[in-house]
Amino acid sequence: MNIPELLENRRVCVCTGSGGVGKTTTSAVIALGMAAAGAKVAVVTIDPAKRLANALGLEALENEPRRVDPDRLATGSLEVRGELWAMMLDPKRTFDELIDRIAPDPERAEEIKANRVYRELSTAVSGSQELTAIAKLYELDQEGRFDLLVLDTPPSRNALDFFDAPGRLTNFLEGRALKAFLKPTGLGMRVLGRGAGPLLGALRRITGVDLVSDLSTFFGLLGDMTENFSARAREVEALLRSDETAFLLITSAQSEPIDEAIWFRQTLRDSGLPFAGVVVNRFHHDLGHEPEAQDLPSELGEAVGGELGARVAENFADYHVLSQRDASNVDRLLDELGSEPLLLVPHFDSDVHDVDGLLRVHRYLFASDEERVRLIDEVVA
């Protein structure tokens, strides 16, 4: 199994997982590899490492994908037959553009963008990155300019925040609960009846009057736009659930990310989202020899020399601990996955931050099963 097989007939690939597991790099590799195979691909990243961004020619936050100069990719070992496009998401701008798009006229859009509640909402608040990432994905999908969109999800502590946060914001923007409080003549108030009086009073006392009136103004401005917003949210959800979307779970082989991956796999299943497979980064392959082997100290002493040999042995024992750890963590994940695909990428000697680095990862993710066995033999032999 490899990435092209996992992404066959898919238009959207969402790379998700907990923080610090190599999501951005993996997204870039997937986009590069699929472009090399002939597709027109756009990768939407959130916060790439500076050197990786430079390698892709992403010097600044830009809200439109830009084609990566083929010369940058021409390193000899991989011919790019299609096109690679990349963009770095600017959440604030995406949010503004969203308002521009669904506002009935430019004046209303400007008023909303000047509202204090909106300004908080579109910048400081957790969830705005998640929401705007999905909004951008949907917009690009609607334009239909690309064969494949690869989305690198924002770094949240908990992978589930990605789905939770847009939902929370959408609920807020739809403002159902709030409108019930704020509109004395609204349906909500009639349903609530007299019970809402003390609630409203308590709310004022706790939040401060101005917050309520700011919110009220905000929702007054949003007005009928919330319908547009809801309709859009439903379409976005339909896209995420469609069988042309693939969720790829990215993890490292450490215990916590693996726990999270297991939990996340279950959550995807429970919510009926299309799961494609797992990529495990930074895997320490077992080098095939026991550090406790009886003859090793004397053999090392002979080949390397006494004192250096002892340090090599000590390091080998430490490495072995990590390879055992990784193997047992991946086994746990496999218990959850059953026959679902899992691709291993080894722990390289240096960080991946340029096109050569991407190509190093690419070999593992795009290799056939036989090629991969050969590659791993190279690592462990």
């Binding site: 807020f172 308590a202 250096l308 090599v312 032999a381």
Partner: protein, 309 residues
Amino acid sequence: MSPLLQRRLIFVTGKGGVGKSTVALALGLLAARRGLRTIVAELAAGEHLQRAFAQQEGRQFEEIELAPGLFTISIDPQHAMEEYLRVKTGPVGQALGHSRLFHAFAMATPGMRELLSIGKVWELAQFERRTREAEPYDVVIVDAPATGHGVGILRTPRTFAEIARVGPIAHQGGQIARTIADRSFTAVLAVSTPEEMPVNETLSLYEALLAEGLDLDTVILNARYPDRFDDADASRLRAVLEADPPPPVRAAVRAGLSEQARAATQAEQHARLEELFPGRVSTLPFVFAPDIGRPELEGLADRLAEVLP
């Protein structure tokens, strides 16, 4: 004692995956050893702090004693809100706490979850606890969310104080914001690994803190490989490989060369961090163990005792 542990409130921040929870717990162990009644508060629903100490699940939103003098709590905004309403607003609050509409409203209000979480942290750090019969803590260590949100959570109280202007939220927001800005009370610590992205993120955290009128007290460089081999060793090892050694020797030597390369990359980022934060970097070693459990945390606490300024 380290001046760091003389603050009552210590925020541990950093990019995802750098070992914030590990550092927060090791620091908590160290504080408890010094006789300080300490609590490590995790700002997200999750139970992995307690897992390191093999605690049972199901009590995660309560204060649980992990080791003598060391407590932990996982702060959940919803739970914090119910508690706040119960204590602050009496019967009306209790009715509100049970109102589904009110929940939906409060949880959907931008920043409200953050405010409720930090409000609970602040409550833990008070000499006189809000919740009746609760004993005060000497040190509250906050295992903050991944950096971007971590700064958000430090900024939230002030934002609310400004937006609401009047009323209890504005009052409380202002009070919490002043506590956070008081450097004799609050410390902010960043955790980084010796890799490019986490170091970048530490720098942007620092800039964001300065913009808020806050500062970074200490940077913990976590998971640093030992510098076991120098360049001469590496040349020697490469020569050994070329001489076609027996397979087990080959495997061990290759593992050695890999680590030498990784340690060299780490040394570059380590130097960068030292240059960015002269005199403020404390280093913790990479832990070669299947999992970070109690013994490993005790070891890291030993090390913190040596390296913390």
